[in-house]
């Protein structure tokens, strides 16, 4: 099994951005699971750096290879290309955010990948 964890740095805190990876490491610790992290969105910003550093640290602490990629450009296109190119069979990403009153707001990337990704998808919330 090769699982791609997609992280979307942005307005959310680093902790929230890293949540899909934390969830995956907690629940999907099985031996033989190939785990790769893709950080999407504009590169070079402090949020992107913090997400990449945080992901490496979590992978290291879990005793896994620090496989962290940076995907510049349109997140949906780049994730779909990577899925097709490298034979991932599973995807995990944030399901979105919450409004001030606590309503779930599905992320746009989550919605698009739900429709278009050819693999099993886990939306972490």
């Amino acid at each position: 099994m090769n699982l791609l964890v997609v992280l979307e740095p942005g307005e959310a805190s680093v902790e929230e951005v890293l949540a899909p990876l934390r969830w995956t490491l907690d629940r999907r610790g099985e031996a033989g699971l190939g785990l790769t992290v893709a950080v999407v969105g504009p590169t070079g910003g402090p949020e992107a750096h913090a997400a990449e550093d945080g992901a490496r640290e979590l992978l290291r602490a879990a005793g896994r290879p620090e496989a962290v990629r940076r995907l510049a450009g349109d997140p949906e296109r780049e994730v779909l290309r990577l899925l097709g190119r490298e034979g991932f069979d599973e995807l995990a990403l944030s399901g979105g955010t919450r409004t001030p009153a606590g309503k779930i707001r599905p992320g746009r990337l989550a919605e698009r990948l739900l429709l278009n990704a050819p693999v099993t998808l886990t939306l972490v919330r």
């Binding site: 919450r98 409004t99 001030p100 009153a101 606590g102 309503k103 779930i104 707001r105 599905p106 746009r108 919605e111 919330r125």
Partner: protein, 185 residues
């Protein structure tokens, strides 16, 4: 304030009573600290299928902290007998606006109670000088969308599985000057 002429003057003053199409007399009044217990019981009675967009929270231990947030600002309850059958509230969004949430008990839906709750809350918001109000709703929740349209909300911003709707401050005329009130949340 709401008795005079001008925009917003059609919004009701609280409290008021309304008879629903089934002949039940429903009282609408501002929600205060003393209502917390009955509002909590109202939300605790929700069937999982009655929840929307993840609220009210399904886990009992999450209900209290959620109520702390939702009961902090202005709110209105619909009461039948001594039981809360509907609740609408405004939650500060941290950018000068408020998010509106409204819930009606299953057996009281489709009776005008939701519309009356929203109108009552807008009247309260008017008296408190609240500005821009917005909400999100599932794209397929047509009854709720109809309530929001009737009460002056229009679709704004980008849309996916949920729709974002907003309305100008209750004192503003919905027919004019609305472009300056901002876009998505």
């Amino acid at each position: 304030m709401t008795g005079g002429r001008g925009p917003g003057s059609d919004l009701p003053d609280l409290p008021f009573e309304r008879q629903d199409p089934l002949g039940r007399r429903i009282e609408f009044r501002a929600c205060g600290p003393a209502d917390r217990g009955s509002v909590e019981a109202f939300y605790a009675s929700f069937d999982p299928a009655d929840r929307a967009q993840g609220i009210p929270p399904a886990r009992p231990e999450a209900l209290g902290p959620w109520l702390d947030v939702v009961l902090e600002g202005a709110g209105v309850v619909a009461v039948h007998g001594d039981r809360v059958v509907g609740h609408a509230a405004l939650v500060r969004d941290g950018s000068g606006g408020h998010e509106l949430v409204v819930f009606v008990l299953q057996g009281y839906r489709g009776t005008g109670t939701g519309t009356a709750l929203v109108r009552a809350l807008l009247g309260l918001a008017l008296s408190l000088g609240v500005g821009r109000i917005w909400l999100t709703v599932q794209r397929w929740n047509h009854p709720a969308i109809a309530v929001y349209r009737k009460t002056g909300f229009v679709r704004v911003g980008d849309e996916g599985l949920e729709i974002v709707m907003a309305r100008p401050a209750p004192h503003a005329d919905p027919a004019s000057g609305w472009a300056g009130a901002g876009s998505g949340p």
